[in-house]
């Protein structure tokens, strides 16, 4: 089938920062994203699991955006402004998408 080049950006960020990130993305013209739960993890700031937690201070989520390649830079700049002082990981992968008109 006909596919189109795009970028898949995956931002693992503290749950508490999620709304700030998605607002920044929206402002930067990102038209779609999905938020995945993360159960636990480990990094330079230690290990964590969400099980049994009621507070919102611990734990990360994954925000996944698929965008046209030409919009990548705007997205990264917006994301970086939010994650800058925070923990978390931003990764970018080349991908192909169906229905390019949606991005």
């Amino acid at each position: 089938m006909k596919t189109h080049k795009a970028k898949r950006v995956e931002i693992t960020i503290e749950a508490i920062m999620q709304s700030r990130l998605t607002e920044a993305l929206t402002k930067a013209g990102v038209t779609g994203f999905s938020v995945l739960p993360v159960r636990g993890g480990s990094g330079r700031s230690g290990a964590w699991v969400r099980a049994g937690e009621i507070g919102r201070a611990s734990g990360m989520v994954q925000v996944i955006c698929i965008i046209r390649p030409e919009r990548l830079d705007a997205l990264l700049e917006a994301a970086f402004a939010v994650v800058d002082r925070h923990i978390g990981v931003v990764s970018i992968v080349d991908c192909e998408v169906l229905r390019a008109e949606r991005f």
Partner: protein, 325 residues
């Protein structure tokens, strides 16, 4: 003294405390016992709803005490002032950075609602009544401490904006909204409303609290296992000393306000307790460079168990001695 010991022993051997201890032990032994996040949140929603509702019903029954307003103001002042004392103490007792010290200080001005709930349940078991509006005071004490901490940091030249989003997040924090909302619902519906739902919010309350404390124990134990190492002796000592200092201020406030014996005890408990929901979340946003393993481990792993086991009976005993009830 004897009374304290009896209270403390009774308290230590109550199902509530033992459930907490079970959780801590299981986590330290690395058992895979865990309460799902959704279940833990559901338990906390239940507890907040029930405690708020019962507080409101009590206000509706005993009429609006003129002291409500004063108590709220006292609570706000305590919450705002205690972080300054905590910060000074931390600078003296520990080698924490300004940032970490301010973050820790914020926790001790604010409150832990489970500690409050556990205290009300100890009071009830001993047949001691208290002002229903203390739940409202608890809600009022959640946020001011955060401002004090950010002010401490900005004084150090390190400008932090409290953006308006953060403001809204703190003040409309789920647990504050639920606590205040159910307080108002209880107030409006009164005894009649309570009758309708008491077999849900009164009868099973203590049992639910047991399961919730089991979960808190698991989380605290896990925190201690992972983060215990970061707590130097000075920091540890702070985690036990600060609640005592806080409770003294709470005692003074409670006596000045002329609260009942139960009310004084609860004011002590609120001042002694350290936040582990609202404040940690605010710190992650506003002071991301502060180390969460310090403030979380200290608040949940040290001060919470201390208050739960020894603090509460102590505060109740002192309140009872000094109010002469």
């Amino acid at each position: 003294m004897e009374q304290i010991l009896t209270l403390a022993t009774n308290n230590l051997l109550s199902p509530i405390i033992l459930s907490f201890a079970l959780g801590v032990a299981a986590a330290l032994a690395r058992s895979d016992l865990s309460v799902p996040e959704a279940a833990a949140k559901a338990l906390s929603i239940y507890l907040l709803f029930a405690i708020g509702f019962k507080g409101g019903v009590s206000v509706s029954s005993h009429g609006l005490d003129a002291k409500l307003g004063l108590s709220l103001i006292a609570g706000i002042i305590l919450s705002a002032a205690l972080p300054l004392i905590a910060f000074a103490l931390l600078k003296v007792m520990t080698g924490l950075s300004r940032l970490d010290a301010a973050a820790v200080a914020a926790h001790y001005g604010s409150i832990s609602i489970v500690t409050f709930v556990a205290a009300t349940s100890v009071l009830e078991s001993s047949g001691i009544t208290s002002e229903g509006y203390m739940v409202a005071v608890a809600a009022a004490m959640e946020a001011p401490a955060i401002l004090s901490a950010l002010w401490l940091i900005s004084r150090g030249g390190d400008g932090r904006r409290m953006d308006s989003d953060l403001w809204r997040e703190i003040l409309l924090n789920g647990s504050i909204v639920l606590l205040v909302g159910s307080f108002l619902i209880g107030w409006v519906t009164g005894e009649e409303g309570l009758t309708e739902i008491s077999s849900f919010i009164v009868a099973p309350f203590k049992g639910v609290l047991c399961l919730f404390l089991l979960d808190m124990g698991l989380v605290a134990g896990r925190g201690l296992r992972r983060g215990g190492g970061v707590l130097r002796p000075g920091v540890l000592a702070f985690g036990v000393l600060m609640p005592l200092i806080g409770s003294a201020f709470g005692l003074a406030a409670g006596l000045m306000l002329g609260l009942s014996m139960g009310g004084v005890a609860l004011m002590m408990v609120l001042s002694a307790s350290a936040s582990y929901i609202a404040v940690p979340a605010a710190m992650r946003v506003a002071l991301p460079e502060a180390d969460p393993s310090i403030y979380l481990t200290l608040s949940l792993g040290v001060t919470f168990p201390f208050n739960l086991t020894l603090g509460i009976p102590l505060y109740v005993a002192v309140a009872s001695a000094l109010t002469g009830a």
